[in-house]
Each structure stands twice: as structure tokens, then as C-alpha cells.
């Protein structure tokens, strides 16, 4: 394209002052985006990928952040030096932005129609016209019964719908540039695909530029034209997506691409191994009280007849989106919740008919690693105390004298420095915290570890490392894993068998290879199609004019 770039960021440097220390958020960052194209800014957490966009929008709070150098040229103006009035001309009208967590980013006390219309009202559109256009926008982004739902509140919509509403708000004034900061990270895979497609369609309709900030290689590969790779506040690589994927120039890019799952052969389950866990016809219903005057009371079946088995030494992957029942299943398996009907048998014994001593023994055998290591580790305890807590509860597992040595051994095993045993969780990174959680789970030498979305909150490269660790300890101790995840790629390289859950039922079950290459159920197929592959050469053809 011979046109001048829509937005050019030149040599931007931003620093943050916190508690006497100065942190360089981004250093000398330059990128540009053109009309009608999608630029992806790819980076892991801490890479500074959102900072340059926040600076462009003027959203960096001036203490503690300072823009120390650089320019952001947009249609002849340097956006970093705007007055307040000039800024209001730009924001929402010529450049718009959507954010990661739409529930938190929509004002909970105002109706969505009002909020969408506000995007137009503040730029001079008369209220009645703004309202009419808001209805049209909501329809365009795919909110059913848009006119009726204008007065509904954000919490009354699903996650995907909320992001659509944010998109409607953003494109209301037909901006020249839309910045999307991790727009789909909090959403289910199938919804993610829809949202990204919507964004691409809007881009084509209006010819606006789109900046997509993400950590997901698949998203970049499927939806972006050009990309910028960031690490530690610096740009390490730029170029057309196809080029970068084919021949990455920088080491870091190569590592990132290498960490993407899907390279290894499928694992094969061992049918002869001992049966550990048998789940039969598990049902769990909840009774919801009706909302005043609007809905009658209803019964919701979170689990609707779930049956499967787990053998020794195998990894069972359970994949489902939100509302599939996988979280409820995890709670029931851990005996944190009683099912409405059905049975769970561990080594032949009915888990829910156990005596107190039997339950106590059961807990030693079945351990868990949760999703959010920040929440599951007590911030006031040291690492040693956290790992050792299990021995305090089950003193027969290990006498007190041996504990310190055992802690250090575990830390080494999970790849951490044993000298850090007396530190507190906040002194570690996310991936390291998850390793601590794994060490804790290992401390009682269990037979089964249930990983409830254990790697979902981690960066891609860290994810790969943690999964490697899990594979190692599985080999070492003959452990079984129940690995719960919300999308398929992550279990591809680690699971022997896969269950796909949808609306409380298992829609597909089988060895990983079979599920991935020859899915039986429609839903599995949809799920597979929705997960963006980190391969730009296999983009689904976008059918012109079709909407979601």
C-alpha cells in the first residue's frame, strides 16, 4: 500500500515510578498500522505490549507513568502531546479501544443501550439519534432482540455478548483505528472465534485499521496481516505474519513458535493399566430461585449423566467451555460437593459412602492443582510452610524431622531453587507459583492429581515448561492426571484420552488421536475449528458478506 501509515509509533519509551524504583515499561518501541489492515502486537505478560497502545490513547496515569521519549503520529498530529480537548476529539471518535475483561469494563449501573449511545452523545450526536444508532449497532454486532435489550444491564449478558457490546460502542463513531487489547482472552474458544471474525468484518466494512494485542500465536496466525513481537519492553521482530511464522528472525520468536502445541505425536493410552477411578451416571442439579416477577424457579443440571474411567499412569484430558460442567465435575471428584445421583468409585470404594478415616486416606491419594496460583497459595505463608502444610495435616506421611529436606527435594524436582524455601509467594513469577502448587500436590505422594485449568493463566512458553514438568513427574512416580482445560490444543500433547463436555454431558470420549483427527460429535468439530491454529497458511476462507 502506497498510502501513508494510519498511525506511526516512533521510538516510544515509557517508564513507571513505583515505591522509589523506576521500571522501564517500554523502550524505543516503533510500529505502524495502515488502513484496512490488522496489526498484531504479540507478547507474553510483562512484555509491555499494552503500554504503547495505552500511551496512544492517553490512558497512562501520569504519576506513576511517564512518557520519556517518542511520538505517535496520527493524521499529522502527535498524539502524545495533545491538549485535553484535542484528546477528546480523538478518543472514541477517530481512535477507539476495546479491552480484555468486558464485564469489568462496562459500567454495571447503566443500561448497555445508554452506554453505547454515550459513545455518540459525547461527540455531539443528538440523544435520540444516538439511541437509534445504538440499536442498529447492537444488531450489527449480533445481539439478538437488540431493541428490547437496550435497557438491559451488563451483568445480564454472557461474556461474548458483552464483548460484542463493547465493540458496538467502539465502532459507533466509525473510527479510523480500533485498538483491541486482548479482546478474547477471557472468552470461550468458540466465542473467541466469532468475536475475532466480527472484528475482521467490521474492518473490511469500514476500512479502519485494527491493532490486535494478544499473547496467542493462533490468534495472530489466523487474524492478523502484520505482526510485532515484543519481549521485556522491546520490539524484537516485525514483519508480515506469513513471513515471520515461516522464518522467524529472532531467537525469542523461534522459541515462542516452538512452544506452540501440536508438534508432537499423539500419546496412546494403556488399556491394560489398573483401573483407579470409575465414574457412573453422575448427575448434579441446582435449583435456581426465579427472579422476581420474571422467571419461575428452574432446575439446572450442571452434570447430566457423566460416566468415565481413569487408569493408573494415564492422563485424562477433560475439555469444556464455560457452562460445560467441568468445574462442577472437578468439585465432585474431589469430594467437595455431593452429586444428586450417580457414583464415584475410587479403587472400588464408593467415595461418597466412605467413613471419615477412609475419606482422610482418600484425600492423600487424590490431590489438586488449581488455576490461579495467586489465590491458591496463602500469601502469608512461606513456601516451606505451604508445601509442608500437608504433612502437618497428615503427620503419618512424614515425620517432622524429615520435612525440611523433603521440601528442598520437592523444590528441586519442580525446577525451583531450594534456597528460596523461606520466601513468600509474591516473590515468585506466575509460572514459579504454579510449580510451588505442584510441589505441594506432590508432597503426599498421591496417586492422582487433578489439574483444574492449571496452566490456563500462564504464558505460552511457561505453559509448555509446566506441562513438561508434569510429564516428567508422571514418568517418575507413575501418577495419573485428570487435566481439565477449556480448549483442545493444550491437551493435545499431554493427554492419553480426552473427554469433551458440553452442557453437562460428555459428547465425545476417546484416545486423543482419535478425538483430534476423527471427531464424532458436531460440537467437537466446532471446538476444533474454533481453536486458532498457529499456522497462517491454514486460514479459513472468509466468505464475503456472511455474518455470524
Amino acid at each position: 500500500m502506497a498510502e501513508p501509515a494510519l498511525l506511526t509509533v516512533e521510538n516510544l519509551s515509557v517508564e513507571f515510578h513505583a515505591r522509589g524504583k523506576i521500571v522501564q515499561a517500554v523502550r524505543n518501541v516503533s510500529w505502524q498500522v495502515n488502513r484496512g489492515e490488522t496489526l498484531a502486537i504479540l507478547g507474553e505478560s510483562g512484555s509491555g505490549k499494552s503500554v504503547s497502545s495505552s500511551a496512544v490513547m492517553g490512558l497512562i496515569d501520569s504519576p506513576p507513568g511517564h512518557i520519556t521519549a517518542g511520538r505517535a503520529l496520527f493524521q499529522g498530529q502527535d498524539l502524545l502531546t495533545l491538549t485535553k480537548d484535542e484528546r477528546r476529539e480523538i478518543n472514541g471518535r477517530r481512535i477507539a479501544m476495546i479491552f480484555q475483561d468486558p464485564l469489568a469494563h462496562l459500567n454495571p449501573v447503566y443500561p448497555v443501550g445508554w452506554q453505547v449511545a454515550e459513545a455518540m452523545r459525547v461527540h455531539g450526536v443528538p440523544p435520540s439519534e444516538a439511541r437509534a444508532r445504538a440499536v442498529a449497532l447492537l444488531e450489527r454486532v449480533g445481539i439478538p432482540h437488540a431493541a428490547a435489550r437496550m435497557n438491559a444491564y451488563p451483568h445480564e449478558f454472557s461474556g461474548g455478548q458483552r464483548q460484542r457490546i463493547m465493540i458496538a460502542m467502539a465502532v459507533a463513531m466509525k473510527p479510523d483505528l480500533l485498538i483491541a487489547d486482548e479482546p478474547t482472552t477471557a472468552l470461550d474458544v468458540t466465542v473467541q472465534a466469532q468475536i475475532l471474525t466480527l472484528l475482521s468484518e467490521l474492518r473490511d466494512e469500514t476500512g479502519m485499521g485494527l491493532v490486535l494485542i494478544t499473547h496467542d500465536l493462533g490468534v495472530v496466525a489466523q487474524h492478523a496481516d502484520r505482526m510485532v513481537v515484543m519481549k521485556d519492553g522491546e520490539v524484537v521482530e516485525t514483519g508480515r505474519v506469513a513471513d515471520v511464522f515461516r522464518a522467524p528472525a529472532h531467537d525469542y520468536t523461534r522459541r515462542l513458535l516452538g512452544a506452540a502445541p501440536g508438534k508432537l505425536p499423539f500419546r496412546v493410552p494403556d488399556e491394560a493399566a489398573e483401573l483407579l477411578l470409575e465414574v457412573q451416571g453422575l448427575v448434579k442439579s441446582f435449583h435456581l430461585r426465579g427472579r422476581f416477577l420474571r422467571e419461575a424457579a428452574r432446575e439446572v443440571r450442571a452434570l447430566d449423566g457423566v460416566s468415565f474411567a481413569l487408569r493408573k499412569g494415564e492422563t485424562l484430558g477433560i475439555v469444556g467451555e464455560s457452562g460445560s460442567g467441568k468445574t462442577t465435575l472437578a468439585r465432585v471428584l474431589l469430594r467437595l460437593m455431593e452429586p444428586s445421583s450417580g457414583s464415584v468409585r475410587y479403587r472400588g470404594q464408593d467415595v461418597f459412602a466412605m467413613s471419615k478415616e477412609q475419606v482422610f486416606a482418600f484425600r492423600r491419594r487424590v490431590q489438586v492443582v488449581f488455576q490461579d496460583p495467586t489465590a491458591s497459595l496463602n500469601p502469608r505463608m512461606t513456601v516451606e510452610e505451604i508445601i509442608g502444610e500437608h504433612w502437618a495435616i497428615h503427620p503419618e506421611a512424614l515425620p517432622a524431622e524429615g520435612r525440611r529436606a523433603a521440601v528442598e527435594k520437592l523444590l528441586v524436582q519442580v525446577g525451583l531453587d531450594p534456597a528460596h524455601a523461606r520466601r513468600h509467594p509474591h516473590q515468585f513469577s506466575g509460572g514459579q507459583r504454579q510449580r510451588i502448587a505442584i510441589a505441594r500436590a506432590l508432597s503426599l505422594k498421591p496417586e492422582v492429581i487433578l489439574c483444574d485449568e492449571a496452566v490456563s493463566a500462564l504464558d505460552v512458553s511457561v505453559q509448555a515448561q509446566v506441562i513438561e514438568l508434569l510429564k516428567d513427574i508422571q514418568k517418575q512416580y507413575g501418577l495419573s492426571f485428570i487435566f481439565i482445560a477449556h480448549d483442545l490444543p493444550v491437551v493435545r500433547d499431554f493427554a492419553d484420552r480426552v473427554l469433551v463436555m458440553h452442557r453437562g454431558q460428555i459428547v465425545e470420549q476417546g484416545p486423543t488421536g482419535a478425538v483430534f483427527t476423527a471427531p464424532q460429535a458436531d460440537y467437537t468439530r466446532t471446538l476444533l475449528a474454533a481453536s486458532p491454529k498457529a499456522d497462517p497458511t491454514h486460514r479459513p476462507q472468509r466468505r464475503a458478506g456472511e455474518r455470524l
Binding site: M57, G58, L59, K84, R87, R88, E89, I90, N91, G92, R93, A96, M97, F99, D101, A104, H105, L106, N107, P108, V109, Y110, E118, A119, V122, H123, Y153, H155, E156, M166, M169, R291, F292
Partner: protein, 305 residues
């Protein structure tokens, strides 16, 4: 809505009855009020006669049984001091107190919310520091001191307002102002800190990205979200005033519930104490219902519950 109110009423009725029974026994444990109504040198026969006249010579359980029987028809008995039905006395005093509460909390709320919001606009700026200082002073000053100083300065020295009384609107200025100072100080604190935390909420970022002007961000987007804790504190303060802003009522000569209750307690006027407790408790129950409604209006997420 009716189900919600009905359940609330049932719960409250239980506590109300428990409260009145408690007051019944506690008051009577202090002995016969005869001594307080008769002059010091009244002979014992007079005291006994007084007790007989008002049923204080009966054994306690019998007094209680009579009390319950009368309670069923909402008869709290007659005031010992005035010989009129106790309920009448309380209901005559209640409007004054309710008006005092309404005006003082209303004004305090308005002033405090705006001040708190403006202070949060630029935290640690000049306005914020002054507002914080004044609000801390306001929340700490004792009522009676402020009232007397208010009278001495504004009524006696400056002659801007009359000293006391209830007849005209201008006579309410000083008492309402005195009553409003402490709640205002407290609410400024709450409003300010809630606003500061709300202003760092993600949806404020969205509004900035939309190009919403700063004033609208503060007063439209942030303020409504910050109101919930403010309403809680305001409701609490209002309940305190309904219970009886005794000092203000005494100093300014307002015939409100607070003064009535203190006098009744000093004079062991059991009927009025019981009626007063009951009616005040009902008023506070209604206040809490109002607060719940306010919550539901402010935050649509609570309506679903």
C-alpha cells in the same frame, strides 16, 4: 416486592417484640417510679397509693401479663407524667424528629457527596487536603459544643438566626446545621475514598477511551458506583438521629422523640418508654427498607438477588 417486604417485616416483628419485652423488664427492675412523681416529703401511704393506682404493686409477672394483653390491641397504656395515652405522646414527637433527620441527613448527603467527589478528582490536591481536614474536624466535634457555639455566634453575636424554637423555617437552620456536621464529615470521608477506588476501575478507562469528559466521568460514571457505601453510612447516621438527637432537641427546644425518651427514662415513665422504643424501632425498620430500595435502584445487580 411483597414477598421481600413481608419476610423483612416478619423478621423485624420478632426483634421488635423481643426488644419491647426487654425494655419492659429492665425498666421495672429500677423500682417503683412513685418516688419521682411525688415530692420528697410525700408520706409512704401516698407512695403506696400511687403504686396501686398505676399497677406497680402487682407482682412482676402479672404486670407483664397485663402488658401483653394490652399490647395485642396496641394499647401501651397512659403516660405516668401526663395521663394521656403513651402512643399519642410518641406520635406527636415523631414528626419533629423525622423532619430533623430528613433535613440534616439530606443536606449532609448532598454536600458531602459533591465534596467527596471533587476531592477525589485530584487526590492530595489543595481541595482534597482542605476537604479532608474539615471533614475530620466535623466528624470529631461534639454535638453539644457545636450547638452552643453555633447559638452564641450565629444567634447572639451575629443575630442571623433566632436561638431556638420550632415555629418558623429559619429556626430550623441552626439545629439542622448542627446535626448535619458529623454525618457530613463522615460521608465526605467515605465518598472520597470510594470515589478514588472507583475512579481506578476498568470501566472508567473505557469511558476515557470513549472520550467522555472528566466531569462526566466523575459525576456520571463513577459517582453512582460509589454511592452504595455512602448510602450505608448515611442510613446509619439517620437511624441515630431518629433514635433521638437528644442534645440538639434539648438545646433548641425541639419537642422530638429524643427529648421525650430521656425525660421518660428519668421519670421512669414506663408506658412512654415502651411505646417510644416500639415506634422508633418501626421507624428504623422502614428506614432500612428504604435503604434496600435505594440499593436496588442504584445497583441493578442487586435486583436480581
Amino acid at each position: 416486592m411483597t414477598g421481600f417486604l413481608g419476610k423483612r417485616m416478619l423478621w423485624s416483628a420478632g426483634s421488635l417484640i423481643g426488644l419491647v419485652i426487654l425494655v419492659f423488664f429492665m425498666a421495672r427492675l429500677t423500682g417503683s417510679p412513685a418516688d419521682l412523681y411525688l415530692p420528697i416529703d410525700a408520706p409512704n401511704e401516698m407512695r403506696e397509693e400511687f403504686a396501686r393506682l398505676h399497677g406497680f404493686d402487682l407482682p412482676l409477672w402479672q404486670q407483664f401479663a397485663n402488658f401483653l394483653r394490652d399490647l395485642l390491641v396496641f394499647d401501651f397504656g397512659d403516660s405516668l407524667r401526663q395521663g394521656r395515652p403513651a402512643v399519642d405522646l410518641v406520635l406527636e414527637a415523631l414528626p419533629t424528629t423525622l423532619l430533623l433527620a430528613f433535613w440534616s441527613i439530606g443536606i449532609a448527603l448532598m454536600v458531602a457527596v459533591i465534596t467527596g467527589a471533587l476531592a477525589a478528582w485530584r487526590p492530595n490536591g489543595i481541595f482534597d487536603r482542605i476537604a479532608t481536614l474539615l471533614s475530620l474536624i466535623g466528624a470529631s466535634l461534639p454535638n453539644f459544643w457545636v450547638a452552643i457555639v453555633g447559638v452564641l455566634v450565629f444567634a447572639v453575636q451575629l443575630r442571623w438566626v433566632p436561638t431556638s424554637g420550632t415555629g418558623t423555617v429559619v429556626q430550623w437552620v441552626l439545629p439542622v446545621a448542627v446535626l448535619a456536621i458529623r454525618p457530613c464529615g463522615l460521608i465526605v470521608q467515605v465518598a472520597r475514598s470510594t470515589m478514588i477506588s472507583v475512579l481506578s476501575a476498568p470501566y472508567v478507562k473505557t469511558a476515557e477511551a470513549k472520550g467522555v469528559p472528566r466531569r462526566a466521568i466523575i459525576f456520571v460514571h463513577a459517582l453512582r458506583n460509589a454511592m452504595l457505601p455512602v448510602i450505608t453510612v448515611a442510613g446509619d447516621q439517620a437511624a441515630g438521629i431518629i433514635n433521638g438527637a437528644v442534645i440538639v432537641e434539648t438545646i433548641f427546644g425541639f419537642p422530638g422523640v429524643g427529648r421525650l425518651m430521656i425525660d421518660s427514662i428519668s421519670y421512669r415513665d414506663f408506658a412512654v418508654i415502651q411505646a417510644g422504643v416500639m415506634i422508633t424501632a418501626i421507624a428504623i425498620f422502614l428506614l432500612n427498607v428504604l435503604i434496600d430500595i435505594a440499593y436496588a435502584l442504584l445497583d441493578p445487580r442487586t435486583r436480581a438477588a
